[in-house]
Structures are given as C-alpha cells and as structure tokens.
C-alpha cells in the first residue's frame, strides 16, 4: 500500500511527464492550474491519467476546490 508521500510523488511525476515540465520542478503545494497553465478540459485529462495510473475512480466533484497537488494526492489516497 502506497504512503501519501509516494502517491504525491507519483502525481507530480505524472503531471510533469504529461504536461512536459521538467521533472523536479513541481512541488506538492503548487497550484497545478497556475503551474501547468491548464484549463478544466486538460484537468479532466489529468484526472483520466490519474485514474488509469492508480486504478481508481475519482469523481470530478472530489476535486472541486482542489488546486494543489498535495490535496489532490490526499483525495487519491483515500480511494486506494
């Protein structure tokens, strides 16, 4: 079973790879909308990738009001 730290790192790695930002340039507290420059459609894309990667379902209302990677990882962790 993953720890929250592992989950957070995997989220950062996935976002970095998919949105082509340098590995290590993303931090858990970063606002992913601002840091990645993404809109809501791209966020849904990221949601799909996260669901596929972690083998979970993450209803979009679970990410309502969530804008940082750490909180996103917490939402994911609660479904592992």
């Amino acid at each position: 079973m993953r720890t929250l730290e592992q989950t957070t790192q995997e989220v950062l790695d996935l976002a970095s790879k998919h949105f082509q930002v340098p590995a290590g340039s993303l931090a858990p507290e970063d606002d992913f909308f601002k840091k990645l420059g993404i809109d809501s459609l791209q966020t849904l894309e990221m949601l799909s990738r996260l669901e596929n990667h972690f083998g979970i379902e993450l209803p979009d209302y679970e990410v309502q009001g969530v804008s940082d990677f750490k909180t996103l990882a917490e939402r994911i962790q609660s479904r592992l």
């Binding site: 966020t43 894309e45 799909s48 979009d60 209302y61 309502q64």
Partner: protein, 267 residues
C-alpha cells in the same frame, strides 16, 4: 451526396462506410451551425442508405468527441429575447436536434461513435444515438446539465435508460460527474476500449467486419433490438423546456459563459 465538407463537420463515403468527422473549434460544441450541418447529413440518408453498411462518427478536435451544447451561443441568443421567445426558440432547437438524433438512432446502417476525450452533454447524447461506442482510455462521459439547473435535452436520458441499468443513469445524472472509459465499459456503455488515439482504428476494424453481413437482415435486427423511445423523448423535451424558463438557468448559463478561469467544465 457521398462527401461533404462544411464549417463544423465533414463526411466521406467509401466502400459502404461513411466517416462523419466533427470539426468545430474548440470542442465540437453543438449549436445552430453544427445542427444545420447534421440536418444536411441526415437529409442525405435517402441517397446514402442503399449503399451504406456503417457510419463512424468521430472528432477531429484534440479536446474530445464533443463538449456538448454550445452554451455560449445559447446564453447570448437567449439573453436578447423575451421569456416567451426564448422558450419557443429553445423548443424549436430541441425539435430539430431530436429529429437528427432520431434519424441517426434509427438509421438502417450501423452507427459507431469513436470517442476520445470529453464526451459531455449533447456530445454524449450524439454518441448514445449510435449503435456502438468505441472509446479510447482517455475518454470521459458526463451529463453535467444539472449544474445548469437543467436535464439533458437531446434525448440522453431515454437512450441511456434504454441501454443501461437505472442506477448508473441516476448516478451520472444526479451527481453531474464524469466517468472514465474503463468505468463506461464496465457498465456496458462502451463496447470496446482502445489505447489512447486508437478509437478510430478500432471503429474502422469493427466497421470492416459489419460490412460483410446481409443489409436486410442487419437492418431488421437493429430495428428489433433498438426501438426509439419516442414518447419518453417527447416528455424529456417538455421537462427541459419547463426547467429552462426558470431564472436560475439563465444565471447558471451566465456564470458558465463568463468564467474564464480554469474550472468551467468541473463541477
């Protein structure tokens, strides 16, 4: 008309298969322009049907199959009209889009929706009018209409109920959430799952199989197994129109249209 290139879509017939490609910036929002060209497509059925076994509907837009109704056009048009004219305008649009969806639903040839990315609202309803949905693993399906104080108005609820268990329909409708392609396949909505970017190829392979079969038997089988739920579709339109007259709907549309932040497609 075996081929057509319009402002929002194009189609090409080749060896018994029509490929209808939606291509309207940014995400194939279904407004008056696309409705008009879909009507053109449906009006060509008379000439196309005798030589067509399959129609594949797909999208050329990176964002996905279709983000649904053109809410910006709906809001800006409705905002200029009196309440009465707003309602008659909406009812007229719904009458036209239902005629298109019903024609696609009941077409004697097999229809396949090849879906990637967002397949929301009216876009989801177009996919549901098809016989088979092939989705790549990045596809997402949603009925977000409740977020606007509405219900799906292009025939989505009766068609989804026709195909799947009521429990899944309720979850989608009442939470407004999107589901990924894997979940959609698990509940039976998506027939085949494709790798990212491969939905069209798999739809074409499926089409190549379908063209082998006798056209009369195929059309009869489809008509038998897929009745169009006309009475319920009419009730859906009536309920949509009743909800649309409420001030909360225009307020929700305004909020969506004026939201230039990253969140409009999220609940």
């Amino acid at each position: 008309m075996k081929s057509f290139t319009g402002k929002t879509l194009r189609w090409e017939w080749r060896e018994g298969i029509i490929e209808l490609t939606l291509d309207r910036e940014p995400a194939n929002e279904i407004g008056l322009a696309m409705l008009g060209e879909l009507e053109k497509f449906v009006s060509a059925f008379g000439k196309l049907v005798p030589e067509t076994s399959v129609c594949i509907i797909s999208s050329a837009r990176k964002q996905g199959f279709s983000a649904g109704a053109d809410l910006r056009e709906l809001y800006h048009t409705a905002a200029l009209l009196s309440k009465a004219r707003r309602l008659s305008g909406v009812r007229n649009f719904l009458k036209r889009i239902h005629a298109v969806m019903n024609a696609i639903d009941a077409a004697p040839f097999v229809t396949i929706a090849a879906v990637h990315g967002v397949c929301f609202g009216g876009g989801f309803e177009l996919a549901l009018a098809c016989d088979i949905i092939v989705a790549d693993k990045m596809a997402r399906f949603a009925f977000p209409e409740l977020r606007l104080g509405l219900i799906p108005g292009f025939g989505g609820i009766p068609r989804l109920k026709r195909d799947l268990g009521n429990a899944f329909v309720r979850e989608l409708l009442l939470t407004g959430r999107s589901v990924n392609a894997a979940r959609a396949q698990a509940v039976g909505l998506v027939a085949q799952l494709a790798a990212e970017g491969e939905a069209m190829r798999i739809a074409q392979a499926t089409a190549a199989q379908i063209v082998k079969f006798d056209a009369v038997a195929r059309a009869a089988a489809k008509k038998f197994i897929k009745p169009v739920p006309r009475a319920e579709l009419r009730r859906e339109v009536d309920l949509f129109c009743k909800l649309f007259t409420r001030p909360a709907v225009m307020a929700a549309l305004k909020k969506f249209v004026e939201d230039f932040g990253p969140m409009p497609y999220l609940p």
